[in-house]
């Protein structure tokens, strides 16, 4: 009996020490952060009419998004109609408000294309895309639109970024990026 009590005491003591030590170490929760950050299932999108355009300003914006990472890192003059900051539509901002940098595509991280600097090669080279892919009938505009919007429809195991399902870009911006890719470049 006495032995049991002693044992119980000893046990209680080691357990107390264990929980003390346990509370001395940092074990922050990450599961909620991850759960909120998960990618939604793959989605099929219909390319809106008038999506692919020859408009110079649209193509310039698509090009800028293709070649740059974000508004903080981007150098050079911004094309007309593109911002370095990501403002929420409908929200009014005061001068002292911190507005986050706008994210761009950084597509050159993985794709070479005309005039790319330091392009990566995880994805296919998109140089001469119009001639090699569109004119040959291998691809059409809708394919390019869907690929950028959500590449998982074409390839469930893709290593490419998802750009519309994640709401990183608007449908309109995807159209401008696609317009840049399929445009004939000099």
């Amino acid at each position: 009996m006495r032995k049991l009590i002693l044992m119980g005491l000893a046990l209680g003591m080691t357990m107390a020490v264990a929980s003390d030590l346990r509370s001395a170490i940092e074990t922050p929760d990450a599961s909620k952060l991850i759960a909120k950050d998960l990618l939604e299932p793959a989605k099929v999108y219909t390319m809106p009419s008038g999506c692919i355009t020859n408009d110079k300003d649209s193509i310039a914006r698509g090009k800028f998004i293709f070649h740059n990472l974000n508004g903080k890192k981007a150098k050079g003059k911004l094309p007309k109609g593109l911002s370095k900051k990501q403002m929420k539509p409908g929200k009014t901002y005061l001068p002292q408000d911190k507005i986050p940098a706008k994210q761009y595509g950084n597509c050159v991280a993985c794709h070479n294309i005309e005039g790319a600097r330091g392009a990566g090669n995880i994805g296919p080279d998109l140089t001469n895309y119009n001639e090699f892919f569109i004119k040959t009938g291998a691809r059409d505009n809708a394919f390019v639109f869907q690929k950028i919007a959500d590449p998982r429809i074409d390839n469930p195991n893709t290593h490419m970024t998802v750009n519309l399902t994640t709401k990183l870009f608007t449908t309109h911006e995807i159209c401008e990026i696609a317009s840049y890719i399929v445009s004939i470049k000099k």
């Binding site: 001395a24 990450a30 990618l39 296919p124 290593h159 990183l168």
Partner: protein
Amino acid sequence: MVSKKIILAFALIGVLAFSGEQFAMSDSDRAIYAEMLESNPADMDVEYGSELMEDLVGGDEGLAKFLGVSEDELPAYIAGFPRYIEKLGLVVGLDQVLQALMAENGKKPFKLKSKDMFALSTYAKSIANGEASNIDVNANEHMKKALALGEKTFMTKRGGRGLSCNSCHAPAVIGAILRTQPLPELGADGVAVAATWPGYRMTKSSLRTLQRRFQGCMKNALLKVIPIGSAEMVALEVYLTNRAKGIEIAVPGLKR
């Protein structure tokens, strides 16, 4: 299947022309790197870490005692981290063990993300330099679970661009270039990476731990950054350390 697609696309286009600016390391960078290999700037942090170790927790002896091993067994035991530690009831990294040890010694534990903790835990891992990494992911249910969670975390696509660690570190994309940076392979057995962290990062001019490195990739790729010491972070470390099993530990490493 993925690699086949990529190869196909490459074949269609024919030749890939790489320019000199392809690589982020210039010749002068490389010269500095060679010099640093002779004397790693983080050696000073390790020295400082060893002083902290003496002052705060009774040196190697104090650590060995806490872990329940002899000082002779300590290097090989450290080469098996992250481990399930009975006293803590958790799979933990060395840094968390050091927090517990500091508390046991009546000291206020360093924060996991603090410079002092980076120095202290790098010193502690350096005790295992020259030992083969010997993590045992089958040691118990806790380790098995940690490995599974690590793999899951590595494969989970999330964040603003819908990327996972595997998007950039899968065997299929290895050897490929991400914007001037060759992608280090992480997803195969025999990958030494975990055995070479903590390391000195030239681009950050400071000593960084493996979990701190994970945070860098998360931030760059727009994955929500998760905290050091979380179950998922320790699990990622378990996953990558298991890849480095059998490889000699050599810290602090020297990283771009």
